[in-house]
């Protein structure tokens, strides 16, 4: 296995969880937004 392939695999191993972490933060923050500022017939 070449060095570049190892780097690519390492990138995938770090990037995928990082991306999901960011998305979980987005989901949590959006859910919070909905709860804090519900629609009140504006």
């Amino acid at each position: 296995m070449t060095d570049t392939v190892q780097q690519a695999l390492k990138l995938m191993a770090i990037a995928l969880p990082t991306m999901f972490l960011v998305i979980f933060l987005f989901i949590g923050a959006t859910a919070l937004l909905n709860r804090l500022f519900p629609f009140k017939g504006e």
Binding site: T2, L33, F39
Partner: protein
């Protein structure tokens, strides 16, 4: 007299092949309506750059100037993102943020393709630029390619836009392969939900920018411009700016972006074996994206009481709204009374944000 013959004398078979390539792009745009806003100017730009001694390219050529000013400076992709943001309606996503998980899963193709490209001998930066085709998002592809693989900008962009146009052909067979008829028939009720408060609509783009920016500051240009465009739309107080972003800005930058990208498709850069591999890997990225989204939805179904139609996982790729429509159509083909369009579009919108996040993560991690 020699001056007049310089074009003919220096004409090579490579130029002619590129004319054919340009002709195909123009043909696909006009005849088959494949991403005409981009493929038409790209095709004509390729034509302009492949005329021997063309004054459109070179140190004084207007296309080269545009390339330096608009692409290498990363200005055009960022401006396009402002326009896209102003066109986006994130309401389905704010209402049902969990859809973002499907968007994230459908970015799997990016990373799988990076690994495959590395196996094929590309450098990590080149592999990353190739993998980003799987973001199914033109501006992100251009942005990352400008940073990591400027020499491959033309083929990468053509691959990204071509495969986005080909989503109705690429996705259905993969979705069918990975799902049973029973799964494709799963109904998803759409309950009429309360509208979203204006405060939430306004805070959403600000919040997304802050979170993404703090985790990956390098992504701020991408996600920030997308969210700025959205903010001017949802704020409701700068309608003129919102309209300008959605119309004048979008049209002008698209026009210049396309023809400028086309100008990078010179014969010597395009007619090399690597380009064929790049185009093939782009397709691989789209296939893995679709598979990633569908398989993730199937995995989620294992723990859900009320099952979701796993086809919506495929909409997590960013090709908006094409992918959402394709999946909704597939559900209708299986059962003419099964309307999953709202769910599919919600996941498709999530894909737009997630593809930018994926681009930002790749930019942050590949140095």
């Amino acid at each position: 007299m020699d001056e007049l013959l310089v074009g003919i004398v220096n004409l090579t078979w490579k130029h002619v092949v590129m004319w054919v390539v340009a002709g195909i792009l123009i043909y696909l745009a006009i005849r088959h309506d494949y991403e005409p806003l981009l493929l038409l100017p790209i095709g004509f730009g390729a034509l302009l750059t492949n005329i021997p001694f063309s004054s459109a390219v070179g140190p004084d050529g207007f296309l080269t100037r545009l390339l330096e000013f608009g692409i290498y400076s990363e200005l055009f992709p960022v401006l396009i993102f402002i326009a896209i943001g102003a066109m986006c309606d994130f309401s389905p996503l704010i209402r049902r943020p969990i859809a973002m998980l499907f968007g994230a899963a459908a970015q799997f193709g990016i990373f799988a393709t990076i690994v495959i490209a590395a196996m094929l001998g590309f450098s990590l930066k080149q592999a990353a630029a190739i993998g980003i085709i799987g973001a199914a998002d033109g501006p992100t592809t251009i942005y990352v390619a400008t940073r990591f693989a400027q020499d491959m900008l033309g083929p990468l962009t053509v691959a990204a836009y071509s495969y986005m146009a080909l989503v109705p052909i690429i996705q259905p067979p993969i979705i069918k392969l990975l799902t049973s008829k029973k799964e494709r028939l799963i109904r998803m009720e759409y309950e009429e939900q309360e509208p979203i408060s204006k405060t939430a609509l306004v805070l959403f783009p600000i919040m997304i920018t802050m979170i993404a920016g703090i985790i990956a500051p390098i992504s701020v240009a991408l996600i920030g411009s997308l969210m700025f465009g959205n903010l001017i739309k949802v704020s409701g107080v700068v309608e003129r700016l919102s309209n300008a972003a959605q119309n004048e800005l979008a049209n002008l930058v698209t026009l210049l972006l396309g023809i400028t990208i086309g100008s990078t498709m010179s014969a010597e850069k395009f007619l090399i074996p690597e380009v064929g591999i790049v185009l093939g890997l782009g397709l691989v990225a789209f296939i893995f994206d679709t598979a990633g989204g569908v398989l993730f939805a199937k995995a989620v179904n294992l723990v859900l009481k009320k099952k979701i139609n796993p086809m919506i996982g495929a909409c997590g790729i960013s090709a908006f709204p094409m992918s959402g429509r394709v999946v909704a159509k597939m559900a209708l083909a299986e059962d003419p009374t099964n309307f999953i369009i709202m769910h599919a579009i919600g996941v498709n919108v999530a894909g737009q944000i997630c593809s930018v996040v994926a681009g930002g993560v790749v930019l942050a991690l590949v140095i």
